[in-house]
Symmetry: C2
Subunit: 242 residues, 2 copies
Amino acid sequence: MTANRIPVIEIFGPTIQGEGMVVGQKTMFVRTAGCDYSCAWCDSAFTWDGTGKNEIRMMTADEIVAALRDTGGETFSHVTVSGGNPALLAHLDELIALLHREGIEVALETQGSRWQDWFLQIDQLTISPKPPSSGMNTDWAVLDNIVESLTANRRSLSLKVVVFDEADWQYACGVHKRYPHVPFYLQPGNDDLTEADPALLLARLLERYKALVDKTMASAELRAVRILPQLHTWLWGNKRGV
Amino acid sequence: MTANRIPVIEIFGPTIQGEGMVVGQKTMFVRTAGCDYSCAWCDSAFTWDGTGKNEIRMMTADEIVAALRDTGGETFSHVTVSGGNPALLAHLDELIALLHREGIEVALETQGSRWQDWFLQIDQLTISPKPPSSGMNTDWAVLDNIVESLTANRRSLSLKVVVFDEADWQYACGVHKRYPHVPFYLQPGNDDLTEADPALLLARLLERYKALVDKTMASAELRAVRILPQLHTWLWGNKRGV
């Protein structure tokens, strides 16, 4: 049997999941390299723009679990797979199965541009379609199929949209209207990925979060919604690996 | 038919739920008066210490829903009942049923000192047993029964413990060990309920949150845990009614 290898660019933790449906969760992170998107404001562009290529290691599921244990010891029971877009990887099922055998839950975030059968094995799946400010286009047929398949199989699923501007807001309203029964999360965009002072960044992020909260509170269109910041950037700024 | 009345001390919103299992949720708040506890650090002591007695209105379920609509219009589909301890109120089932008939979800938080049959109708129930720093004693037999009944009925349930100090931390570990299969939330205590400057308060709350995150990350005892701040105090400080 040949062991399949996965392009891994970061393994770190334990830390908190800073955003989305499992916000605050104690978790380890496995970040995979490679993306089919190139969002204008991507906060992990090193996973796909070539700047991180020397950090990529091709690892088997066994090697990834060993690396997680090396880093996190026995302090964790939750792993988050992030990217890049981990949905590009057909063989992620091996890692998911191995983690489950150790009693570890697995969360994953992807933009919803591609289906993988192993989506059905993920404990908390966040689909985060990208709004107009990203420069990307949503393939609604693909997204419809993903949401339908997950819902039919009663999987733990959420939709999350990052909002930078009015066009993004309209897009978010459209996503919620299209999939009204899927738990829906809004997140303010971080428009300053270079600010090195966490305190200055925090003041800015807090204002942006407040503005999104205010706008959402006044809306009759977005009612069943959760608005969350990126807690990790509030705590640690734009630093990587926390 | 006589309409039962509920002692209501505040109705406000829509705003975000700032803490716990539905953090970030757009919601209206109904705060009931009266508590069987008197926690040393209670952030809503006006509900039970007499200072808010002139604000209490005895309201029927119909009147509460009308007041919610007066305040929130059509912008909401979620209501949070808080206290005080709303579990003191035997007739809350009428309000819950009325809200459900309008398609509105109901969340509720209580300390787990008393059972009510209508717990089984709550969409998201947070049980928040109080740690030693509160000065209160936990009745474990009552809490065991509450957790068992809710779990047996597969209700959406979480446990949340506020942590101020080392004794609270040990208490939290004990709660998690006693009920390992119930989603478990830690929250740093706000030890400054009088600071009027939100920016000064935020710096302090951020440090306390970071410290609790760091301590939890290093622990092999607390693994399946979510650590969350009180987002509303980060945004609005110690202000009431937001």
